[in-house]
Each structure stands twice: as C-alpha cells, then as structure tokens.
Symmetry: C2
Subunit: 313 residues, 2 copies
DNA sequence: TTGTAAGCGTTATCAG
DNA sequence: CTGATAACGCTTACAA
C-alpha cells in the first residue's frame, strides 16, 4: 500500500505538505499543490483511515444499529440503509452495520438507531457520542415522519372521495407512532364532524382479514389502516365480502415500501420519504459531531395514489 | 477513552503484557492474566481498532457491497445483511456497508459482493484483497444456492402431487441462476418422461398475470415459477380464471422471503437459506484472508410448503 | 508557504 | 514469562 511518505518522497516534499494538499489545500502554493496531486493519482494513493483516526481521535465511521428482530425486519429498512450509506459517503463517512444492543463505542463517532424500544432509551441517552434515532423520544435527537399528518391526509382523502363510513384500523401496541397515527385520524374526523370508529389489531394481514370477516363491512366504507399490512387485510376482507374496491370500499395504508405494490390492487398509501429521512438523520448527526445544538425533525409524508381509492371525479 | 497504557499502569505491568492478555492470553501467567483482566473490566477498557489496524496492517473490517439498484432491492437482502453482520461480528470483524462500484480498498480487508453484473467481474477478479460474491461466476470465490436443485425439488413436488400439465415460468434474462433454475425443471421433467413447457417473462407479477390471462390455463396444471413474483402472478391468474388453487392449479415460487407470506394464499416456495449462505460467505472470506485456498460452495435450498400446492394425501 | 518533531494506541520483535 | 523499543500512517503544534 502506498503511503503518504511515498507520495512525499516522489513529489520531493515533506509528508506534511502532502497532508495539507489533502486536508487544507488552500494552505499550499498552487504549483506544489498540483504537483502533489499529480503524484497522488499517479501512485494511486489513498488515505489510510486508521492512521488518520489515530491522529485525529476521529474514526469517520458511523454505526447504524438496527434493533428489530431479524424476522420482523420490514423491507423498507433496506432502503433506509441504502440512503444512509449514500448520505454518509457523501460526507466522507463510512457506515458500519450493527445488530445488537452492545452500543460498543469502538471505532465509531456516532450512532444512528432504528427500532429502539423504551428500554433502550436510558442507555442511548447516556452515551458519550452523538446519537440520532429514527422514531420519536423526548430527550434524544430524532428524525421521524409526522405520523399524525400522514393519517390526517389519508383521512381527508377518503372524506373528499365521499366515503361515508370511515374507520381506523390501528395497531395493538402502545407506541408513540401508533397513537400519533390515530390522532391524525381523530383530528380529521372531528374537523369533518364525523364520529370516529377505531379498532386495534396485531399488525398482520391475516388477522385483519379475519377480524373484518367477523364484522361485515357496509358499502361505502373508507378504511384508514395504520400500516400497509392492515390495509392489505382490509382489501382482502372487502373482496371476500363481495364489496368492490375502490367503488364501495376505499382503503389507505401506511408505510409505502413494497407491500402496497404487491397487493392484488396497488394500495393507496402514506409513503415514508426514506431518502429525506436518511439525509436528515445524517445531517443532524454530523451537526452534533461538530458541536452544534440540534433539535429533532419531523418530515411530512406523502400520499401515494393507488387503486384502492377512487380517483378525483 | 481509556487506553492500553492506562490499564498497564493500573495493573503495574507493561503495555505488552496487557496486549498479550488480550491477544495471546496463553502466553501470560495465570496470576497476572486474571489481574489484568480485572483491571480491564474495572476501567471499562476497549481496544482502539485504529491502533490495532495500524500495528497489524489489518482493519478487521469487511465491506459488503450491494450493487443492485435501490429500487430493485428485494427485502431478502436486508435479511442476508443481518446474518452477515452477525457472522462477521462472531469472528471479530465489522461490516461496512457499501453501495457503489468504486471498490475502494481503504479501511477494509475484504469484500462481500451481492448483485454483481458481468461487467463487474473483471474488476473483482483483479482486486488485491479477497472477494466472495453471492452468486456464481467462474474464477471468483462465491457462495450460491443450488438453483438447479431447487427447481428440481419444486418440479418433483408438483409431479408427486399429481399435477398433469407442468409449466415453467422463467425470467427473461441471461444469467446463470436463471438457466440453472430452468435446468432443474428440465431434468425433473425428463426423468419423469414429461415434455417441458417453458415461458420467459420479466420478473413482475403484473406481467405474469397478464401473460397467463392471454393463455388460458387448463385445470390440473402445475406451475414452477422462477421467482415468487412470478408465482404470485400465476396465483392471481389462476384465481381470475376461476381455477381453484391448489386443487386445480399448483404453484411453487422461488426465493422465500416475504412475498410468499403476503400472497393471498401463502405460496409454496423454494427458500434461500440466508443464514447458512451468510455464514458460508464469511467463512470463505476469512479463510482466504488467512491465506487458504478455497473453493466456491453451493447450498441446497429447502421447500417451504404453503397453500398453493396440495398436501400429501 | 513549508518543514520538523512528537504523538495518537497498538503490536511484532527481540532481549532479558 | 515479561518488558523495552520501534514501527504502523497520519496530523497537530510549532519552528523556520
């Protein structure tokens, strides 16, 4: 491996000059700078990050910790991960994949965390390096979608499309993102002077299907589902009951990666803008690393119009 | 950060002794060893990997390069990635996520590559560090499922279940995994004295559905699909045509992560054993790093029985 | 603007 | 079995 000394020697300058050309090019005279750059590319020199890390007490490496159980990993994590990888690389950082609760500080400058539970927040709050989580938790820098705004949009869509009976299919868990999704529905309903109807189910399309089979849907029903899986169950229940989608039943899901595309009819859904989320997470983390004080951010998701809601006219 | 010197000082030994306790404990007397270990945990010392990397000319870091387009990333990559992360960590290595064709050697000891195209193999073959790919390519160490064995199993299943008319839905691409999947079908058919019928389609459930709509299926048909997406299309086509699955039409997919669970009826499928694949990939890469000569490996996939094939009797 | 010296944390080598 | 020394590649601080 060619090192900075090789470059220095070949360019007839000191190691420091080479280092400056790389890190502070403006401090080097134009002539020497181009000369050194030429040698760098001639020799194919690349910085040894271990050396730099040691000298700087920085690793230029961020750990992405995915805490969900392997079997529950939804496909959109793969997309979030790709976007995080790209965003970090743009900033000269590297992404190290993690999958455990050790929160091992070795080799990293910060953490990006996904799927953290309540029990993790205590630990995360007391880490000596910056942390940004995907989700919402007071006291930790986070990026989240505005879940409430998402279901608010979804509910308004179904109202506008003239569905009469609007019900919310929520998840049977006590997490902020669930309560917020429910809140968006409630608010839109209240503003429209409608009476909310809410059911909580495990996040599984089979169970949603069975549940709705036991509760005959009426024609002209709009279903706001807290997830695409629940939306998928609603779609199947409607078909089983002989109700036409979207003419008699309208359905909006939530999450917007993968599942909605695979449904029998493409699902209208509230899409998580993963690229934007990834960029914000990286931006906040690097700002913290630079010593800035940052505040959590919420990103408003977007409605994707599929075949389970009536089109405008 | 507490360093090896702090531990050495506190334990009244030299840095080297601490280093030995960590890397070659058998070279240290039992008494001193336990003493040093106590101090290590008292002080919460963790190795600085940059220092170690510099001294050893090793990084203990492997890049996982996912070359597929973001939009085409199938969910099972997320699972493969998790398993790779776990396997590497077990061996004291770290996984660095990559998503580009730079094949940047900085900071890594080896590459694990997924989704490589023909045009990549030239580069991959001439890298100065070990590479293991997921897939098949002569001249590069690889781990792959035995695609032929998979479709062979699938075809035999449909033969055993007494489906008369057996057709293969392949992908319209010229890649070894496709030809191998086709070959498994061909072989099973030949052994059973049946005439093969093969169609090639883009890997998309909508297109498969349309294609089969234009080619009325007969009752008592068995469909071996080269992917779960194609299998899903076949399932929908059968239902559209009023054919009962699995009684009149039997369907087996291929891949076995996620899609088969979300189908209207759970799809019988040939499952990629991702954990095993990940473990093998890591094992081969580390063996190469250790200077061993290794050969590519093929893993026989497993049939997952769903609701799209008749049960035994 | 450029160079020199020292140090970041670790381990291989060699000496005791 | 244990320790001193030098080295890995790089950058900060200081000197010229």
């Amino acid at each position: 491996m060619v090192s900075i000394s090789d470059v220095a020697h070949e360019a007839h300058v000191s190691k420091m000059t080479v280092s400056r050309v790389i890190n502070h090019p403006e401090q080097v005279s134009a002539e020497i700078r181009t000369d050194v750059q030429r040698v760098i590319s001639q020799l194919g020199y690349v910085q040894n990050r271990a050396g730099r890390a040691l000298a700087n007490n920085r690793h230029y490496n961020i750990a992405f910790i995915l805490l969900d159980d392997v079997n529950e990993i939804e496909p959109y994590y793969a997309h979030l991960l790709m976007h995080l990888t790209d965003s970090l690389r743009n900033e000269g950082y590297t992404l190290e994949m993690r999958h455990d609760r050790n929160f091992d500080l070795t080799n990293v400058d910060g953490f990006l965390v996904c799927g953290a539970r309540h029990s993790d927040f205590d630990v995360l709050n007391n880490l000596p390096i910056p942390v940004v989580i995907y989700g919402t938790e007071a006291g930790i820098t986070s990026v989240d979608i505005d879940n409430k705004a998402g279901t608010y949009l979804a509910t308004q869509l179904l109202i506008n499309r003239q569905y009469q009976h609007l019900l919310f299919l929520g998840m049977a868990i006590d997490e902020p993102f669930e309560t917020n999704r429910e809140a968006g529905y409630r608010q839109a309903m209240q503003e429209a002077g409608r009476e909310p109807e809410i059911h909580h189910l495990p996040n599984n399309e089979q169970i949603a299907l069975q549940f709705l089979q036991n509760n005959q849907l009426s024609a002209n029903t709009g279903i706001i589902a807290a997830t695409d899986r629940l939306g998928l169950g609603a779609l199947r229940a409607s078909r089983h009951q002989g109700l036409a989608v979207p003419d008699e039943v309208g359905i909006v899901g939530f999450d917007g990666i993968y599942i909605h595309q695979l449904a029998e009819q493409s699902l209208t859904t509230v899409q998580q803008p993963l690229k934007e989320i990834a960029e914000k997470m990286v931006q906040l983390l690097l700002a913290e690393l630079a010593g800035e004080i940052v505040t959590s951010e919420y990103i408003v998701p977007e409605l994707i119009h599929g075949e389970t809601t009536m089109s405008k006219n």
